[in-house]
Subunit: 345 residues, 2 copies
Amino acid sequence: MGYPQTSPEVPRIDAAPEATHPTWQEIAEAHARIAPRIHRTPVLTSQMMDRLSGARLFFKCENLQRSGSFKIRGATNAIFSLSDEDVRQGIVTQSSGNHGAAVACAAAWRGAKAWIVMPKNAPNVKREAVEAYGGIVALCEPTMSARKETAAKIQAETGAALVHPYDDDRIIAGQATAAKELLEDIPDLDAILAPVSGGGLLSGTCLSARNMRPNIMLFGCEPAKANDAYLSMQTGELQPLDSSDTIADGLRAPLAPRTFAILRRELSGVLLVSEEEIVAAMRLLWERMKIVVEPSSSIVMAPLLRKGGLDSLQLPARADGIAPKIGVILSGGNVDLSALPFGKG
Amino acid sequence: MGYPQTSPEVPRIDAAPEATHPTWQEIAEAHARIAPRIHRTPVLTSQMMDRLSGARLFFKCENLQRSGSFKIRGATNAIFSLSDEDVRQGIVTQSSGNHGAAVACAAAWRGAKAWIVMPKNAPNVKREAVEAYGGIVALCEPTMSARKETAAKIQAETGAALVHPYDDDRIIAGQATAAKELLEDIPDLDAILAPVSGGGLLSGTCLSARNMRPNIMLFGCEPAKANDAYLSMQTGELQPLDSSDTIADGLRAPLAPRTFAILRRELSGVLLVSEEEIVAAMRLLWERMKIVVEPSSSIVMAPLLRKGGLDSLQLPARADGIAPKIGVILSGGNVDLSALPFGKG
């Protein structure tokens, strides 16, 4: 990493005077709000993965979450935070993937219409997932500007409430509940690894983890082919990401100022991962842990499979002298089984 | 079903005077013996699967078990029941699949050698699993007689202790602990479905379930292409199974007298499933529940996906008037990702 790692003596988040993010209280409220509607996902362990990594790993399985990813946490929190009046005209969002399905699902629970703006080139399987939850798919050209414009147009025409995929405190507070549950189950983790794209999950993870375990180290995992978070952390300024064709289709969005501000303060580092490493880790998790994870999830395992990968995290030695305990957030499992990247033999 | 279903007024198993099977006490002892070494696997639920079946389903995920299947329960119980003297010369068994890997794994925990007799045509992936746990693979001709003879020869030459895949009370007691955990977690199930091949898992399931919830209904799921359990129940006499090429490669073995005796007394019915239904259910579980299950596991979901499938089980109405609660044992997740039965598109 080319930038300094977070000092272990950082203050608890609620003590930070410049806080412009969900408070611990808001995260706890989000958890209470969504808990009756979502799964408390299991935390799995694997002797094989421990042996391969040299650490003791705890896998928070958000691939087993409702709608197939952690996105239902933020979407449910945002949509159930709205008043009846707010949702009367429906919900609108833009997403090429899991957030769209999550919003469609949570809107249906709320009895609200949901318009999901998706690029024309989004995979059929993602479109079908939105429609299976009763969402209305609005197709647009596959550019970020077309997506924003189309969502704004629908909002203007219908009066629907906009729910951004990550640049929203209610979304971040919802995503923060995954790490909250993980640390409730395994309180003495030394580090947590989570994928980073727009930063909703990772910034929420930072907020919960820093509050519950102040000295924990926190890492984002990012495709080398979509490395805006890495560059932003390195330069100290938010870097753009025009587009990316990484196989990790959930990790093609850029950070927002809101999420970057949290990451800049809390994150220990961003780990870049190659396409080949993402696919190899995915196959390993399917074969050995018997769980279906998408490339955007398997990315978190990849740095731990490298020779010297664990050492490169520079975790402090544990007082009890045992191998480090690392939480790994497996974010989702929505893949097209007809187009798997596994070769024959 | 062509034979009468078990009356709900059956006595608790320990009261049966003709009992020739593990007692409840032995099952509890098996559980205490293996619990420190195995996973307590999670019980997953899915709104989607509930909607498709009309029931409320509780999936006991033995695909997430150590060694990739429930087989580690019986193997661990059998091998840790042996004395140091018994295991000094090692363990020998015959298996083309999950039992072989489980014995290799449990023997390694015990510090014992393990010879696994496998047919020459066993898939490479199964052979590699045995070897990964340190087992010694002994290949033989792909017939049941050659497998038995080879195992007997190794036993004679080495003095290794024979651990049969299912015709063994210690194995049945171990496999019984999966249903025991399931009913500890979800006590008010109306029925349990489990796959049936040699009958170790299903007979163990019957023993635990009948003891913990006397009026529960219990079903075996069997490939139509390997229907010896169905025919045995129908005729009241143990029927042979010479060979089968069902895709459910874990379900190609015949019942043993020991397991048949238990099933005959406790089972409500055997549900036959086609090859196409097995593959369709497998794909559905992977896609929707994000778990890797092998065909021998997905078979239990198939009868519930049929039109009228739930009604055909003839479960009694619940006193609380809600939809029936059904436990589904997903037995394993060992599949070759290079040879998946999913077509393109």
